[in-house]
């Protein structure tokens, strides 16, 4: 495969937190490139820095040092408004616990990113409904989060992440709060989405979940290693 470093390239990315007088370094020089259409899972034990990494990838957090280029844009150079734009258009983020606004129904929750994208109301509703149908929730559009099961909530969150047709779909332990069966359903959905051309980065500490991806990297103590030969050998 020919490398296209402009799509997704991280070089020597470091992240440290102040800890008393010293600094706690959580990510020790992460380098990672990704191509359009890839499906990567980042596997690692608890506390290894997975969430820290994906938050930086999703532009929710900033690295202490290092380079990060997404879709040709150097993230370090961006101001708050640019970052908001990138979070809105380039990134679809699926959080560990689906993070829906409890006061909005499923459809309104999915519409939220489109509001910030400035999409007019009717178009917004159409696209949100379309996306909810896509994740198999056509009969739950008017349900509030509290009226949905954990798996359904996660699917609403996936629909919300997809509705702006982002460049990059990020998921931090998307099945963490789900039972095996619903977890498998979500994984099937991810596989379909990848087959449709979506680029996905998924965080997990579960090898069985990681194996759904086409490429797996390990993160241990803030360092990335990639097993030779792909997920089967992980």
């Amino acid at each position: 495969m020919e490398a296209r470093p402009n799509f997704f390239a991280m070089t020597d990315l470091r992240k440290s937190y102040p800890l008393g007088d010293e600094r706690l370094e959580v990510l020790h020089g992460i380098s990672l490139t990704l191509e359009k259409g890839e499906y990567l899972s980042v596997l690692g034990p608890s506390g290894s820095g997975k969430s820290t990494l994906i938050n930086i990838i999703g532009c929710l957090d900033t690295a202490t040092s290092g380079d990060y280029i997404l879709n040709g844009q150097r993230i370090e150079d961006m101001d708050e408004d640019d970052l908001a734009w990138i979070r809105n258009r380039e990134i679809g983020f699926i959080f560990q616990n689906s993070q829906l606004l409890p006061r909005l129904d499923a459809q309104k929750n999915v519409e939220l990113p489109l509001i910030y994208a400035g999409v007019p109301g009717r178009e917004r509703a159409r696209r949100a409904r379309e996306m909810l149908e896509r994740v198999g929730l056509s009969d739950r559009m008017e349900h509030y989060p509290s009226q949905l099961s954990g798996g359904q909530q996660q699917r609403v969150a996936i629909a919300r992440a997809l509705v702006t047709r982002p460049t990059l779909l990020l998921a931090d332990e998307p099945t963490g709060a789900l039972d095996q069966k619903t977890g498998r359903q979500v994984m099937e959905l991810f596989q379909q989405l990848n087959e449709e051309g979506n680029t996905i980065i998924m965080i997990t500490h579960d090898l069985n979940i990681a194996k759904h991806a086409r490429r797996v990297v390990y993160i241990v103590d803030g360092e990335i290693t990639e097993p030779e030969g792909g997920p089967e050998y992980a």
Binding site: N55, G58, L60, D61, E80, D81, A84, W85, R87, N88, R89, F93, F95, N97, Q99, L101, R103, L112, P113, I115, Y116, A117, G118, V119, P120, G121, R160, T164
Partner: protein
């Protein structure tokens, strides 16, 4: 351009929708917060509207009294020190004049038997004065032309004098000593019926006597102060020059012998006084508004803290700082404005009640409404600014980690 306008409009509508939803969700707390603003605006509106209404009715009653009257004060010259009864006659016969009422007042000792009171205000009146103040005599008779021409020692007394000197007796035809001279009581008058400006300003007299008699008691034949009632079809503008030429002739064209005044100056003093009063009361009431504003700020700050996760999530989904700020600003704006609108309505109601009670004509002043509504909206923006800014500055990851 049009697209962007439409986008920001839909953003605004969305923000309003979210704010209303959120306010409705925290009904009790929102209501309590709004209460502060509401009370402030109620106070502002009620005070200003009432003061304005009362002063308007006072001014208009001044105007209606003052309309068609002029006051003439005479300083005189060496040759002619004042107006004699014949001069009053001359003035009365002028085309532009309906009638004149001289005002001759003195303070004197009044006694009957062993009872006495000193420093009693005694006013000299003429028959025309009684025709203008028709309802003033409650018993007995008015003073008439014969009393004037004959310089009769007769008088009308008010209720207080009646009680002091004739307790349990009928005062009519009894004698009362004024400055040691015997006066026959011919009538009783009711001071509260005298609404003339002169009475309001100088305090109402206790005893009325013929003005000619009053002049004699004052040891003079000169009237120096009088009110001129203009005839139909004349106003101060048209009558003043005519009067001036007559008076100039009377005073042999000497300068500065007299002064003609109308009610306009009094009215404008009155107006500036009430507007000062309104401003003062408004200032006090604005403190209540300020307190209400701080209440809103407090609630908004709490709200921002409580909704940290929501804010973080929205930022994660692509909300710009400006958009978050707008959301909170609109929320505090709507809160404060609704308090202002309710307060305006209540304030107008209160003012209506007060005006009713005080017998002043109630009018809804647009200025007061604009002030109440505008001020509360401003309070919402000013006091919502800091919390909204705080919300917009939240770091999405910090906010999300609160989970």
């Amino acid at each position: 351009m049009l697209r962007r306008l439409r986008a920001s409009l839909s953003m605004l509508l969305e923000n309003i929708h979210m704010s209303v939803t959120n306010i409705a969700q925290n009904r009790l707390r929102s209501a309590l917060t709004v209460l502060g603003i509401m009370i402030g605006v109620t106070a502002v509106i009620a005070l200003i509207t009432t003061v304005t209404a009362v002063s308007t009715s006072i001014t208009s009653s001044f105007a209606s009294m003052g309309a068609g009257t002029l006051t003439l004060s005479v300083t005189g010259s060496d040759l002619k020190t004042g107006l004699a009864p014949e001069d009053l006659e001359m003035l009365t016969n002028m085309e532009c004049i309906e009638g004149v009422t001289p005002s001759v007042t003195l303070r004197s000792r009044v006694s009957r038997g062993s009872d006495y009171e000193s420093n009693i205000t005694i006013a000299g009146r003429n028959p025309y004065w009684f025709s203008v103040n028709e309802d003033i005599v409650t018993r007995g008779r008015q003073l008439n032309v014969l009393d004037m021409n004959g310089i009769h020692y007769c008088c009308l007394i008010d209720q207080d004098m009646q009680e002091s000197f004739f307790y349990g007796e009928d005062p009519l035809e009894k004698t009362l000593y004024v400055s040691g001279l015997p006066f026959t009581v011919v009538g009783i008058f009711d001071t509260s019926g005298d609404t003339s400006v002169a009475a309001m300003l100088s305090g109402s007299p206790d005893i009325l006597i013929p003005y000619t008699t009053a002049l004699r008691l004052n040891n003079t034949t000169d009237v120096t102060s009088l009110t001129l009632y203009l005839a139909e079809g004349w106003d101060s503008g048209t009558a003043t020059p005519v009067l001036e030429s007559a008076l100039d002739e009377l005073f042999s064209y000497e300068e500065d012998c007299y002064e003609i005044n109308n009610m306009d100056s009094l009215e404008s003093t009155m107006e500036s006084m009430t507007s000062m009063m309104a401003a003062l009361l408004g200032g006090i009431a604005s403190i209540a508004l300020l307190v209400g504003g701080i209440g809103i700020m407090n609630m908004m700050l709490t709200s921002v803290t409580e909704r940290t996760v929501e804010i973080g999530l929205k930022k994660a989904l692509g909300a710009k700082p400006r958009q978050i700020q707008a959301q909170f600003l609109i929320e505090s704006f709507i809160l404060s404005l609704s308090g202002g609108v309710i307060g305006t309505i209540i304030g107008l109601g209160v003012s209506f009640g007060l005006c009713r009670a005080m017998g002043a004509a109630f009018t809804v002043s647009h200025g007061a409404i604009i002030l109440g509504v505008g001020f509360s909206a401003l309070v919402g923006i000013v006091f919502g600014w800091a919390p909204a800014r705080k919300a917009s500055k939240l770091n999405p990851i910090d906010a999300l980690r609160r989970m």
